[in-house]
Symmetry: C2
Subunit: 382 residues, 2 copies
């Protein structure tokens, strides 16, 4: 299974661009990157969570196909809250393996900044359970609760979270596509206002517009530049209960552990072999749990490892070189696809100033809601 | 590819049941019908269009998995407007063919009657293009435009449409799960109020709550009652432009023609071999175009063939024995799955009073929006 084309739009508050504009920019450029014409695409999958609630637009598969001049292909939207992009990639892989498609275009896209942040915050609670919404919880509130339990268990303090944002902003300063392409210092992070204790503003990913797209094909053709083709070695999705109240543990994301275990098995890869990773840092506590759940360090040691620079650019396993959700931005449905785009660039050697030398194995980790869904992709340089 | 379990809830204005209730009822009974335990299900796909807009609930894959006690499985929502149920079945087939799942539970569900019909009508326009929404078109308006073009081309009159509703209500009178399980006479249909000329009230499918579910597996086990297992011989999805303005023709649904051509090829079946069909009659004109586009009769002759009783229970090819969208009801995301459930019952010989004797081949036809998406499934008795 191969990624033959990849593209990310600029992420940010893109008030001059509509959802259709973003879908068109990402989709057409990914096809161009793959050397694929619209008529060759036989499957279009769109990862998007909120366009129904925020824009009244459903049916995005057919909308995207029409905008891109792709006729007759199969097309649909795939949704799993913030993991919508990841599951769309997964379904494309399945369809190609099944022989139902040869050339799939996967587009993740979200347009969030045309509505008030209150409306967006409310719509994002569509990722949580009905009981959690009725209890008045917010999305950051759910992660704040998990952070509290984690703090109690492992003796963390607020200051321990701050290194996540500092690292990811430093990485974003090397990524011109990032929403916030600039570094921040520890003091700025620590002095930012409290949103849902213990999480402060800089512990939270922003609201973002943006899109990303990949072309997935099952074989290389002579028209491809062989050095620019990257293999998908594993694609796994797993769920856990949407409600925090029904989870076995609140210091880990069970769905992540299930998905990554299957992914390592599928790819024949161990955690120690991963050279570069994009993980789901919707809140700083999420990145800390992710690096543990993915096997990059032991449970309870994520914050220390991040503080020591193990996951920095230049460290033993760079995590979120794109800037992550925190600093590259988090256009919900686009995020899972953007992670795969970032890894494709890294494995191709096209990541510019943030290029990891000799990267051969990349891991993308995309979470829906507070952990109801997790998607893990493993990419390999051919 | 096999359907080993199938279940439909009662369709109707189910004010005492929530979306979760409907998902649970359909999902748990389909598993029970298949003799499958929650722990055996490794993929949950939910077809749903509007729960984000109408209930603020996204992330339905994980929500359904939690409600049904299915842990760790992959789960996600698949959406293509009114074809959401059909594309969910299609993605399950792909995932199993790909080896990514062995036992998939596909649930189509929609809860529509808790909001005003005005709100629902607005949300349904999410199936159409942005330009069509901005132009003030309604969903029935879009089909009204197609009906006008069709009338002009083939010399039809309003009276010619009425036989669709009479037939489908007659069929629904034999289906206790139908929203409107009673017959109506021609005069009632003709005297109903005009909604969007030439379409009157009885030309339109209602707003409905309901769910349907199937269990799909790739092999029979000894635990299955072999006579109750039905094969999926073809599963095809195709798109056409969402906007009417960009269609090559307005007297046919191009996506239907593309999907059914591929489906007949995949299954090695001809239109003349189909014994029973469920087609997408969201409006009477849609059923007339469908029976033509699916190859059941020539273009322009659909209304006459329906009037002659060719598609009646007892006719040469019974169409919409469930009552169709018109009389069984149209809980949007459930419809595509319900069609497959109805055909499974027919091929098993479990369709009660509306059983087609000796039915061996069934065709399900599900359309998204005004024809942006079409899904065709062919089922065979083993």
């Amino acid at each position: 299974m191969l990624i033959t084309g990849a593209y990310q739009t600029k992420f940010g508050e893109l008030w001059d661009k509509s959802l259709s504009d973003l879908i068109f920019e990402a989709g057409s450029n990914a096809m161009k990157d793959a050397g694929v014409k619209p008529a060759e695409v036989d499957l279009v999958l769109v990862g998007n969570m909120l366009s129904g609630q925020l824009e009244g637009q459903e049916h995005l598969g057919a909308v995207a196909a029409e905008a891109l001049g792709i006729n007759q292909a199969a097309a649909m939207r795939v949704e799993a809250a913030c993991a919508s992009g990841g599951v769309a990639v997964n379904q494309a892989v399945n369809a190609i393996k099944a022989g139902a498609a040869k050339t799939a275009l996967v587009i993740g896209a979200e347009k969030m900044t045309d509505k008030s942040s209150g409306e967006v915050a409310l719509s994002l609670m569509g990722a949580a359970s009905e009981a959690e919404r009725q209890a008045g919880l917010t999305f950051v509130g759910l992660y704040g609760l998990m952070a509290r339990v984690y703090f109690d268990r492992f003796g963390l303090k607020k200051d321990d979270l701050a290194h996540v944002a500092v690292k990811n902003h430093r990485h974003a300063s090397l990524n011109p596509k990032a929403q916030y392409p600039y570094a921040v210092d520890l003091e700025t992070v620590l002095k930012s206002s409290c949103v849902a204790s213990p999480l402060h503003l800089f512990d939270c990913a922003p609201i973002t517009d943006g899109a990303a797209a990949v072309v997935i094909q099952n074989r290389r053709s002579t028209s491809h530049d062989q050095k620019r083709v990257v293999a998908i070695a594993a694609s796994q999705v797993a769920t856990d209960s949407v409600s925090l109240t029904k989870r076995q543990s609140l210091v880990e994301i069970g769905a992540t552990k299930t998905a990554v275990k299957k992914a390592y098995l599928e790819a024949g890869v161990e955690a120690s072999e991963v050279d570069v990773a994009e993980v789901h840092d919707c809140f700083s506590i999420a990145e800390i749990m992710a690096v543990e759940d993915l096997g990059f360090c032991k449970k309870g040691e994520g914050a220390k490892a991040i503080k020591r620079g193990e996951f920095d650019f230049g460290g033993r396993l760079p995590v979120n070189l794109s800037g992550g959700l925190k600093a590259c931005g988090h256009p919900v449905g686009a995020t899972g696809v953007k992670q795969v785009v970032e890894l494709a660039l890294q494995l191709r050697g096209e990541a510019g100033e943030r290029q990891v030398k000799g990267a051969k194995v990349g891991l993308a980790h995309n979470v829906g809601g507070s952990g109801g869904t997790a998607v893990v992709h493993l990419l390999k340089k051919i």
